[in-house]
């Protein structure tokens, strides 16, 4: 194995200089690779091992934890392991979904980082053969007010650019961005979280697998050319190459949504109309060519021979290492039946795209790379994939937990002027309307969107059926920070509550596990415990984990982000008649509180507002009880008894009641904004202290019911394990009046709405 490029270190030099350390490969891992190979890996090979054994590609520290998730169920057609998970939704159709993080790229280059995040997750969906039909974005940033942030201008810049990147890519490619969440906490300063979820629809007969099967079949490369984009971190530091010139450095990945649009159409054309000559298809994501190709071979138990000279290149003098690790966007890898390459090329050409053969499938199980007439790598495929290391890293109970629990959650909380507190909460960026953001997302293209952003869950109808899909993303990192296990349960319960409030049965979840460094035993504890919480809740709500993503090392020199396992959940609405939004519909409707409020202040927005920090022990949640509530509420919705439903989350019941009133639209009643609309009010009475108006008790709902349905509604709840308390009614007063045992709240709906609606734009200006 001689003849690699002169500028590259020899195998001995790789060993002696330990250059692999700069690729985050440990000495032990290098030794392991040497032992497996029975010789020293050359420079290219060492690079392949390093990247394929990186956390990003092989999940070596999280795999043992992911194995604890429930992943199967009667409707699951594809669990974790492929590009995305798939769930049966009846009528021969299935929903395909997955979420992915693009945190680090977005921190460095927010516009392109976020844009390429959208591009990447879309490829995961259409590589399964599905048409992407919706995108959701879950975002976390540092604080937006100068007194809480180290660099408030930079935080604002990040919000602006990330949102612009998502809208530019999603709008251009024509997949509606229908929902998401946006929260602000100082721990995300310097390390924002940008998680994107994509949902696709597929006819079950079209489901694809990313396999490179059948010796002799061709491996074809399609889409954009390869440049030195996004090759991992320090690799090209000048010492290693001794050249250090600009062009040798890894470049920022730039998204090309137009190219991807053509790629979607061309790939779906091949899948739907030429499936007889397509063996497998896979997107090129992290670690581009090496990762996609080895995975395809591994799944089929085959080998591959790739001729790198044939890889379409955008830059000159690219080395095998650079080509294999490049993360240039908008590229796919196809395995095509031998002899049918030209047909494939012709199809792609008709979409203005190049498709070239870069190699073929072999039966020797080897991963062989040729460049300039020389073999530059020769490694058994499974060494890079199946045989990647797996670590059971130590865990340790985080010291913060004991400290946080010495104080009572109620400490520092005192609501002496509930009206003022209420308005301050409405203005806090985490609670305030996110319209300023989603207004820039095309949420309606593809004409399936029934419920746009602004309600608990977004709803997409499924054409040619009576059904629809509800979708949401959720996670309150503060709860996980205070108690990883209970927080994990809450994340799933909250997502399920959003799905149920829109009239849907929860089907399954995807996740993005955003944590700090796994080498920190406390982080591993958070990860393990929150995963246990997620699993428990998923079992109760019967929502298996069908796909997901792990993002570790989310920390700056100062602190790790809150452990933030973002949950993306999809639910099935059996009939579009059952779709419900959070907006009140008509004066006179009775208002109910479902479930009962508890003094849940630990991690609440109220606690943060009044004490500037979060602390205390969050109380455990009764998963079975919440499930019973969900079932009863869904039964009521399906009987047509419910005019609106909104789960209580950040800001508590007062905010939930207000949001229901704000959403009213006299024209459509669909919750979309119309400032000219007549405004509704609510008149409610709660036999509670003022503080409880802002308690965040998960699994409680504010529901409005037409008077004609009240009797049947109450009967349903009386016959169940759930409780519904009539607390008042919707009225025409234009006032939000919430009486309590204390002072209560009485403000004009219009003025409260103005605060809530304009706050975010104001903070960002």
């Amino acid at each position: 194995m001689k003849g690699v490029q002169l500028s590259e270190p020899t195998a001995e030099e790789v060993r002696d200089t330990k250059i692999y350390r700069s690729w985050s490969m440990t000495d032990a891992e290098y030794e392991r690779a040497v032992k497996m190979l029975g010789r020293l890996p050359n420079y290219t090979e060492a690079g392949l091992f390093a990247v394929m054994w990186s956390e990003h590609c092989c999940y070596k520290s999280s795999t043992p934890i992911l194995k604890t998730f429930p992943t199967t169920g009667p409707r699951v057609l594809q669990g974790p392991g492929e590009g995305a998970g798939i769930v049966d939704i009846g009528n021969g159709k299935a929903v395909v979904f997955k979420a992915e993080s693009h945190n680090h790229p977005s921190a460095v280059e927010p516009f392109e980082g976020a844009a390429t995040g959208v591009g990447g997750i879309l490829r995961d969906i259409f590589s399964m053969g599905a048409r992407p039909v919706a995108v959701l974005d879950s975002l976390r940033f540092g604080e937006l007010s100068a007194d809480k942030a180290k660099n408030v201008e930079h935080n604002k810049f990040l919000v602006d650019q990330v949102v612009a990147g998502i809208s530019s890519y999603g709008n251009c490619i024509g997949v509606p961005t229908v929902g998401g969440e946006t929260a602000f906490d100082s721990c995300y300063e310097g390390n924002p979280l940008v998680n994107v979820m994509c949902v696709g629809l597929i006819d079950q007969k079209d489901i694809q697998k990313g396999r490179a099967a059948g010796a002799g079949n061709s491996i074809m490369y399609v889409g954009a050319t390869t440049g030195r984009d996004g090759i991992h971190g320090a690799t090209f530091a000048s010492e290693e190459f001794g050249e250090g010139n600009e062009t040798q450095r890894s470049a920022v990945q730039v998204g090309d949504p137009f190219m991807e649009k053509q790629l979607v159409e061309a790939c779906l054309d091949v899948i739907h109309n030429h499936n007889d000559i397509l063996v497998g298809i896979q997107d090129m994501g992290a670690a581009g060519l090496v990762s996609s190709s080895t995975e395809m071979a591994s799944k089929a138990g085959t080998g591959l021979y790739l001729k790198l000279d044939d890889v379409p290149q955008r830059e000159t003098n690219m080395t095998p290492y650079e080509m294999m690790l490049s993360e240039s966007q908008e590229r796919m890898l196809l395995c095509v039946k031998k002899g049918h390459e030209q047909e494939i090329t012709d199809i792609f050409t008709s979409y203005g795209l190049d498709a070239v053969t870069i190699g073929n499938v072999t039966d020797d199980g080897m991963y062989t790379l040729e460049h300039k007439g020389k073999v530059v790598a020769e490694i058994p495929v499974r060494f890079l994939t199946d045989d990647a290391p797996e670590y059971h890293l130590p865990t340790a109970v985080p010291q913060r937990l004991a400290a946080l629990r010495t104080t009572d959650a109620r400490d520092g909380i005192s609501v002496t002027n509930p009206e003022q507190t209420f308005l301050e909460l409405l203005a806090s960026p985490t609670i305030a309307s996110k319209e300023h953001i989603w207004h820039t997302y095309d949420s309606q293209v593809l004409t399936n969107t029934v419920i746009r952003p602004g309600s608990d869950a977004a709803v997409i109808r499924v054409r040619n059926t009576d059904t629809a899909l509800a979708m949401t993303t959720d996670c309150n990192g503060r709860y996980i920070y205070l108690d990883p296990e209970i927080g994990g349960k809450i994340a799933v319960a909250e997502a399920a509550s959003n799905i149920v409030a829109s009239g849907a049965t929860p089907l399954a979840i995807t996740d993005c596990l955003n944590y700090g460094s796994p080498e920190n035993p406390e982080v591993m504890y958070d990860l393990t415990q929150s995963a246990a919480g997620l699993s428990a809740a998923c079992k109760t709500f019967e929502t298996p984990v069908i796909s997901g993503n792990v993002s570790l090392y989310n920390e700056t020199s100062h602190e790790a982000v809150y452990p933030t396992p973002m949950i993306g959940m999809v639910g099935l609405i059996e009939h579009t008649d059952h779709i419900v939004t959070q907006a009140f519909k008509a004066a006179g409707d009775a208002v109910y509180l479902i479930g009962s409020l508890r003094p849940d202040f630990a991690g609440s927005e109220l606690q943060k507002l009044q004490t500037g920090s979060i602390h205390g022990q969050i109380s455990d949640i009764d998963l079975e009880g919440i499930k019973a509530t969900h079932d009863t509420l869904l039964a009521a919705i399906r009987e047509g008894l419910v005019a609106s439903a909104h789960d209580v989350s950040e800001g508590g019941v007062a905010v939930a009641l207000a949001e229901s009133a704000f959403g009213f639209d006299s024209k459509s009643g669909d919750g979309s904004e119309n400032p000219q609309a007549d405004i509704l009010g609510v008149d409610a009475k709660l036999d509670l202290e003022d503080e409880l108006l802002f308690a965040e008790t998960i699994g409680t709902f504010v529901v409005s019911v037409p008077l004609t349905a009240v009797a049947r509604f109450e009967e349903l709840f009386a016959d169940s394990d759930a409780t519904a308390t009539r607390i008042g009614s919707v009225d025409n007063s234009g006032l939000l009046e919430i009486a309590t045992r204390g002072k209560g709240i009485s403000v004009s709906t219009m003025s409260a709405k103005k605060v809530w609606k304009e706050s975010l734009a104001c903070l960002l200006s």
């Binding site: 251009c172 997302y441 095309d442 949420s443 004409t447």
Partner: protein, 226 residues
Amino acid sequence: MSAPRFAVIVFPGSNCDKDLLWAIQTVVGVDAEFVRHDATSLKGFDAAMLPGGFSYGDYLRCGAIARFSPVMEEVHRFADEGKPVFGTCNGFQILCEAGLLPGALLKNTSLRFVCETAEVEVANNETRFTSHYEKDQRLRIPVAHAEGRYTVTDEELEELTANHQIAFRYAKGHNPNGSVDDIAGVTNKAGNVLGMMPHPERAVEALLGSADGLPFFSSLIASMTA
């Protein structure tokens, strides 16, 4: 004339093409077919419909590259022959770039993409596209664009007004993009070419929030079968 047939033109990067086809074919129930950008004939079609989207990524100016597609020669011929030609959003931008409609569509004054249900008024209900509306009827029709600020010179505006070429306006106080004179849609002088930023094809089903776009399609079909 027999039942009309619609051509929905697909440019590379069009992304509302399927929506337009669905609206015409499935919701309204009239014959419609996709026609590729590189087609050289529109034989057998009675109307050319240019969908929204981002043709060629809108990478130079919106619609600037698409207007050189081979099929546009046929669209020009259609327009000259007095057959109906329609463009929404990117389709409108392409028609302006192609010179089939006056003016240009520039970046919204907010500099941001705007997606909302616009309040639109029928400024002229005597076109073949709007005859099933009342004059000044208020409609709710979605818009979704970053470059929808309709711009013409003062003289051109006078001419447009004098010739009753302004078909739709945004309701007072509801202009989402800074268009001159609140213009949302214009026709050519002959009245057979219409471009508009709002998406009537997104307003054909009450389930999705509005059916105010239906009379648009029925007007057009009536004008073709009359």
